[in-house]
Subunit: 159 residues, 2 copies
């Protein structure tokens, strides 16, 4: 048992991947075949007020062009709409559709269920302790999602 710093990093990555892969799987089984976590995050950001491409890009720490590509996908799948802003002719105001909110809701539900599974395995107090420490270590600093590929790709044999 090495307990090296590198192992620690791998453990964290492993934990993350485990959750995300399982969640993506489950989301697919519930009928949202091609939703990737990055879509979920993007929809969430839009719902939270990043309602145009530029702001979404800022929120996601990617260029506005990259954000626009993501938006195009979300729009095509019916998770967001894009209509002209009456107050500013340049902007295209983004709005999350009912379907979009539904994906969000299900995504949350799935993640919560996965967390519950973890609670069952190591106990509530222990998991909360783990979260508390991680929060301390990671700090409030926003987690950047600007990792091309990676969470957007389809997964092999995860679950």
């Amino acid at each position: 048992m090495s307990r090296s710093g590198a192992d620690l990093a791998l453990l964290l990555l492993g934990g993350f991947r485990s959750l995300v892969d399982d969640a993506t799987d489950e989301l697919a089984q519930r009928g949202y075949q091609d939703v990737r976590p990055v879509h979920d995050f993007a929809i969430r950001a839009i719902a939270a007020g990043a309602d145009d491409a530029t702001r979404l890009g800022q929120r996601l720490s990617v260029s506005k062009q990259a954000a626009a590509k993501t938006i195009a996908v979300l729009q095509e799948r019916g998770y967001v709409t894009r209509d002209a802003d009456p107050l500013d002719g340049r902007r295209k105001r983004l709005q999350v559709t009912d379907l979009g909110f539904e994906v969000l809701r299900q995504g949350e539900e799935i993640f919560d269920e996965l967390r519950d599974q973890w609670v069952r395995r190591i106990g509530r107090a222990e998991l909360e302790r783990l979260e508390k420490h991680l929060a301390t270590l990671v700090g409030g600093s926003a987690v950047r999602l600007d990792t091309p590929g990676w969470m957007t790709r389809d997964l092999g044999g995860s679950s």
Copy 2:
């Protein structure tokens, strides 16, 4: 404070990114400018016996072609050599160079130092507890590194 499943995922990702970004920064400062964690992992896998492109690919859960591309980079930078296998004319046997081992050593050292910093912040016992739980939850299952981009990319304002 939501303590939702999604937050947990973000915490894990944040922890990982924090370590990896800092490590990459530090490695760069020590003169290994363009080493990304993925290179470290690849060298490590080669040193551990995945000494041809096919096996390296399997180890890293990527195609042999992708592995070959990585190898080309490692070779160009002098971290590995590739010579004919006297026993099997098809294979090109990989070997980690002294420089390659040096990168590995420094990488380890850096990660260990980062872990020490964490120990200082939350205490040895707590960190070990965290590691123990994560190990339980993630299981022995090999962590897949097949995330295109992401750890290979250069980092913005991390540290």
